[in-house]
């Protein structure tokens, strides 16, 4: 995942392959491009491994609930692979990490970074946006203009936003 030096994930240009040591895998694809990747992954998994493939439009509550249930029943040797837009991959990865899955057990392929979730520390609302890093977006909760900061929480799967004009004098 290569996010070594900052908290902002840097998705490599190489698409990861299924971990050959996995005994069971859950592949989750978001959107058409994500699902095309999970299909390709499924074909690459060596014979004899249990593979389940989930397809979803985005990381909505329903698919995240299935993911949570699968993790609860998983045994060591299980791996998670996520493919799709960054916002969905981060949201699903956050669920997995919170449930105790290790970085080493998750592989991701990101198909676009356009959409983001931005967390507002002033009112604790998370807003979906297409603003770039260092751009601005209004907060859905408090309406403040948020500066999208290059800082990402793995647990929240969200960027930090902070009030863009806090230092302006009215």
């Amino acid at each position: 995942m290569g996010a070594e030096h900052t908290s902002v994930p840097r998705w490599g240009t190489e698409r990861p392959a299924p971990d050959p040591s996995a005994r069971a895998l859950l592949l989750v694809g978001f959107g058409a491009r994500g699902c095309a990747i999970t299909t390709a992954w499924a074909a690459d998994v060596p014979a004899g491994r249990a593979v389940e493939v989930l397809a979803a439009d985005d990381a909505d509550e329903a698919v995240l609930a299935v993911l949570t249930a699968r993790i609860a029943g998983a045994r060591v040797g299980w791996r998670l692979m996520l493919a799709g837009p960054e916002a969905d991959v981060l949201a699903a990865r956050a669920v997995a990490l919170r449930a105790g899955v290790l970085d080493a057990e998750i592989r991701c392929a990101v198909t676009s970074t356009e959409r983001k979730r931005v967390y507002c520390p002033h009112c604790r609302t998370t807003t979906a946006t297409t603003a770039p890093v260092a751009g601005e977006t209004p907060c859905d909760g408090c309406g403040r203009r948020l500066h999208v900061y290059a800082h990402v929480s793995r647990r929240a799967g969200a960027y930090l936003g902070f009030m863009a004009d806090a230092e302006e004098v009215a």
């Binding site: 040591s21 996995a22 060591v76 299980w78 105790g100 899955v101």
Partner: protein
């Protein structure tokens, strides 16, 4: 579990002076020492799986502490007599109540992983000692665990107290094939979130590591007790030659170049004395530095023209410094 390290002669910080308060030989060939501060009082707390480095005559041995690690007035270690070993264990087996030994403060290199949902403890022979500590801490802090313990028939150190402590979470095996089969079965089917810890003879450690890898355990979930000599290495003696004054400063094993320079009246700026802050860099004119710091870059190390004198030493018998 035990590891032998070269003796360290010079003074060092944080030494514990401990008196032998009790000696027990419950199992033939295995001696349990109870140690207390000579002057009494609490001893430092430690994470489960920690060890002491004890001075044993001309050796220093690392012995696992077997308590749960909470602050207490005594430490316990159990030592297997190795008749053809290095002499450290024989030293321990000659100790009697009232004898005084010196040891390092506890060192941790095998702590339980706090996020684990379940701890699978695997011990072979005297490798039970850090696992006893893990099991006690798991009971104290209500962690989910199980212990697989392989021992020679009749020679299971701590078996009775383990039965009391662990109840049905303990499975003890007097035969190696049975033990290995149980280990394989456990590794084949444990909930995601389990971590496995192993201590014992090298073949057991290798078996656990290989089987776990084969069954898809990521290395991050597999923990083996290995005493890292690098941590404790006092280094070979050498001489520092100060080019400007022509002075020769001997640097004995166990003394840092920085301390030797200071003792010789040469002031060197320093802060961390751990090889990370970058303050104590000194230029090298000749001789090959033995870099042990975290500060210099690969290129700077390769150039060999500077050394972080708080931790680094010399490959050659003599290191010429531009001081």
């Amino acid at each position: 579990m035990t590891a032998t390290l070269p003796a360290r002669t010079a003074a060092r910080t944080g030494v514990l002076v401990l008196a032998v308060a009790a000696v027990a030989d419950d199992v033939p060939g295995i001696r349990t020492l109870t140690l207390r501060r000579s002057e009494g009082g609490p001893l430092p707390a430690y994470p489960a799986g920690s060890h002491l480095v004890m001075d044993c005559g001309d050796r220093r041995n690392a012995y696992s502490l077997t308590g749960d690690g909470s602050p207490a007035e005594e430490y316990r270690v159990s030592v297997l007599l190795c008749p053809d070993g290095d002499g450290g264990s024989a030293f321990v087996h000659r100790l009697a109540v009232g004898d005084v030994v010196t040891a390092s403060r506890p060192r941790s290199a095998f702590a339980p992983v706090s996020t684990a949902r379940h701890h699978l403890l695997v011990a072979g022979g005297i490798g039970i000692t850090p696992m006893l500590s893990h099991a006690r801490a798991a009971v104290r802090w209500k962690r989910s665990f199980e212990l697989l313990y392989g021992h020679r028939p009749g020679a299971g150190a701590h078996l009775d107290e383990l039965r009391d402590l662990c109840g049905d979470r303990l499975a003890a095996y007097g035969s190696t094939p049975e033990m290995l089969a149980a280990v394989r079965a456990a590794l084949a089917d444990r909930p995601l979130g389990t971590h496995v810890y192993v201590c014992g003879p090298a073949p057991l450690i290798a078996f656990v590591e290989e089987t776990a890898a084969e069954l898809g355990w990521p290395a991050e979930r597999v923990h083996a007790e290995r005493f890292s000599a690098a941590d404790l290495d006092p280094g070979e003696p050498f001489t520092a030659r100060l080019a400007r004054s022509g002075t020769r400063v001997p640097v004995p094993s166990g003394t840092s170049l920085l301390s030797a320079l200071e003792e010789a009246g040469v002031a060197v700026p320093n802060l961390c004395r751990q090889g990370v802050c970058g303050e104590c860099r000194v230029p090298v004119r000749s001789g090959r530095p033995l870099h042990r710091d975290l500060y210099l870059s690969e290129a700077e190390r390769a150039a060999g023209d500077a050394v972080m004198c708080c931790v680094s030493r010399s490959v050659d018998d003599e290191l010429e410094l531009d001081l």
